[in-house]
Symmetry: C2
Subunit: 199 residues, 2 copies
DNA sequence: AGACTATTCAAACGATCGTTTGTTTGAGCT
DNA sequence: AGCTCAAACAAACGATCGTTTGAATAGTCT
């Protein structure tokens, strides 16, 4: 039993890292098995196929991550005073900084968006559509004078900035580190608030 | 002679489209040769290797494109009155809308940023480092009270929003079209100006 | 103990990968 | 006419791909 979860976990960890480093298509099942230190056939035994492994790698990180986002938003909306735009933005972004639950989530999310549409789109729709619409509604409640269409654009650009931060961690020329993601997120929030809260 | 350039051009066009659709690693030389309607060996004959083909596909679109960006910026700085932030931002973004010179450039640029670092990074450094630093200097001249570090962050987020727009054309739920890229670019400029020009 | 189930393993399956080979083609030149 | 050489071609190279097989192994229950 422990051997099973051990093997599964080692495969997931190895696949996760290799997908982030090289992308899905450029990562072979053999490379995954080698890095995990398990037999090649174990990958197909536990996950059925390469695509099944991809789905599981992505889901196990993003699912608890999105749960935390929604919990944050629920807490805000259940509060006595109306949440500010900064509150909502931090509820959306801060889970990327929680080391315990989301140590790899930033890189996973940054990576999956960069896969070809045929690979990424089904996973994105399944995991993110609920969260995206919930947060857009939250912003709409704050900015009643901004049209839904305009708000979608602003949210779109916010997500783009966020993904770029997650993928590169720091601007070109700077070197990435854990600290730079945290401070980068603060810069991102200040930057995005200016774009979101326009007349 | 015309047969030569014909074959080269057909290969480049086919590779360009397939790289955008499926990504570099997932696109085979056979798929490229098939779509181009040429012999498989012609691909290696004309470009040396798959990586050589990638380099050429990327360079031939981005080179004239960046030239136009720099020409726009030169024209602004040579003008009688000092350029505004909007002027500079439009000099940076508008070439994506020039159908003749850059019909495929938006998708090419959006795609290359999403390739794994081992593939994308060398190409990005070679083609974009000059343009990026020139435009950052232009912004620095306008905002003398903003530190260079802070300005790099803001430029970083601007690029992220731009790339997200180029990759998806429209927010999720909306359908992409030529018109939506043009109007999306206007939304992007308004959005980014707010984030760039903060106290 | 013996039967049953879950997991690991070495080995191989056919398919497809990027690249190379040796030959044939055809236009330009003397 | 004969010569030259870039270009196109069919065919194959060895390597690697995702996946499957069937036997060996370990753990659990009666």
């Amino acid at each position: 039993m422990t051997a099973t979860t051990d093997t599964r976990e080692k495969i997931l960890a190895a696949a996760e890292q290799l997908f982030i480093e090289r992308g899905y298509a450029a990562t072979s099942m053999r490379a995954i098995a080698d890095r995990a230190g398990v037999n090649l056939a174990a990958t197909n035994y536990h996950f059925g196929s390469k695509h099944g492994l991809l789905t599981e790698v992505f889901h196990r990180r993003v699912e608890p991550f999105n749960q935390l986002r929604l919990k944050n938003l629920d807490a805000l909306e259940a509060g006595s005073s109306a949440p500010t735009a900064r509150d909502i933005l931090e509820a959306f972004c801060s889970p990327f900084l929680q080391g315990d639950i989301a140590s790899k989530a930033p890189q996973i999310v940054g990576w999956i968006y960069s896969e070809p549409n045929s690979v990424a789109r089904p996973l994105l729709e399944r995991e993110f559509s609920v969260v995206a619409s919930r947060f857009q509604q939250a912003f709409a409640a704050i900015y009643p004078d901004v049209s839904a269409q305009e708000l979608r654009w602003r949210f779109h650009f916010l997500v783009g900035s966020l993904l770029h931060l997650l993928r590169l961690q720091a601007p070109l020329g700077d070197k990435p580190s854990n600290a730079s993601l945290k401070s980068g997120m603060q810069h991102l929030i200040d930057y995005s608030l200016a774009g979101l809260a326009r007349p």
